[in-house]
């Protein structure tokens, strides 16, 4: 049984690694072509250094998030969950995603309506999941001049944190199918991503290690992917 579980975990990790490796080609291609543009035109000022920097950061973030996901999966028994302020975590993530969003003609819209008690989560895991998801969604955003909303709201089931955009056709069935196809198809989530969407699946892996998951959600007439987090009981009664 234990052997079986290890084999399935190894397969999952391998599939995710394959997706991450494949996805890394995109920022690396962008950087390589930018460098070449200066040579081709004979004008070094044609090289957009902001593009180079933001894509290098996106690539490194994807690698770091994958490694963190791997670590959290393996250390699940000793995973240190602690009270985390979702509002401040989302604000930090929004700030970090802002430059990348501009590259894609999009803006980051931070919606934190109200005050929320801390949630039980792995601090860097939660932020990494949001960043990984944010980079993946921005890369795939089809329209310019639109915003990607990072939002938090309360439901009877907990505190819902998500990233939402103009993905009207996005459905729970498509997400379920994407999870089945991840690592097996070049475009497992074609409704949302032209590539393999590795960042989305890395975020899902991190959240699953924290015993929550990503699901399709809706907020202020926008569709996206969200997770439900439980408020910290410890702090609630202090």
């Amino acid at each position: 049984m234990v052997q079986g579980e290890s084999a399935s975990q190894l397969q999952e990790v391998t599939q995710l690694l394959r997706s991450v490796a494949d996805q890394l080609k995109l920022p690396l291609t962008t950087i390589a072509r930018q460098a070449e543009l200066g040579q081709l035109t004979g004008d070094p000022s044609q090289v957009d250094l902001t593009t180079v920097r933001t894509h290098a950061t996106a690539a490194m973030t994807l690698v770091d998030c994958y490694l963190l996901g791997l670590q959290l999966m393996r250390d699940q028994a000793t995973l240190a969950l602690e009270p985390v302020s979702v509002s401040s975590m989302l604000a930090e993530a929004a700030h970090e995603l802002d430059g990348f969003a501009k590259q894609y003609g999009a803006t980051i819209d931070l919606r934190i309506g109200g005050k929320y008690e801390p949630v039980m989560a792995h601090r860097s895991g939660l932020k990494s999941a949001v960043l990984s998801l944010g980079y993946a969604l921005l890369e795939a955003y089809p329209a310019t001049g639109k915003s990607l909303t990072l939002a938090v709201h309360r439901t009877p089931h907990g505190i819902v944190t998500g990233l939402y955009g103009d993905y009207e056709q996005l459905s729970a069935a498509q997400w379920r199918k994407a999870l089945e196809l991840q690592g097996r198809a070049p475009q497992p989530f074609s409704a949302l991503c032209n590539g393999n969407g590795a960042g989305i699946f890395v975020a899902e892996t991190i959240l699953r290690a924290m015993e929550t998951k990503l699901r399709v959600g809706r907020h202020n007439n926008k569709q996206g992917l969200a997770t439900t987090l439980q408020p910290s009981q410890q702090l609630r009664f202090v």
Binding site: A32, L37, Q103
Partner: protein, 125 residues
């Protein structure tokens, strides 16, 4: 001046490709999705299309079939510039030949110079 339509879901890469093509003397248009591509081709008929087969919400081969179904676009040369590896492209090769694809480039290694050279060659024919 010859007009090239670049169908590329990643808008940052698309910007780089269109800059290189403009430098080579072409006018360019850019489309991120299948619908945008049809609209762009409708607005100004391209002399050549550069296409990424991995499109959001659309299969690239299906898009090509649809694109070719319009009589006025049937003969427009298409260069595929894709992230799909040569091995992943193998099963769709017959379809690409049938659809009259002029050249097929593997995006991570296809330099801007190579892309421009292929565009020049296709349009010289």
């Amino acid at each position: 001046m010859m007009h090239v339509l670049c169908i590329e879901p990643d808008r940052v890469l698309a910007r780089t490709y269109t800059q290189a093509l403009q430098h080579a003397g072409y006018t360019t248009a850019y489309a991120a999705t299948a619908q945008d591509a049809v609209d762009a081709a409708d607005t100004k008929r391209p002399d050549l299309v550069v296409l990424e087969l991995q499109m959001t919400g659309h299969d690239g081969i299906e898009f090509l079939h649809e694109f070719r179904s319009y009589p006025e676009w049937r003969d427009i040369p298409v260069i595929v510039n894709t992230n799909l590896t040569p091995a992943a492209l193998e099963p769709v090769k017959p379809a690409l030949v049938e659809l009259g694809i002029g050249a097929c480039l593997y995006k991570p290694y296809a330099t801007l110079q190579q892309l421009v050279s292929h565009v020049n060659a296709q349009l010289a024919n």
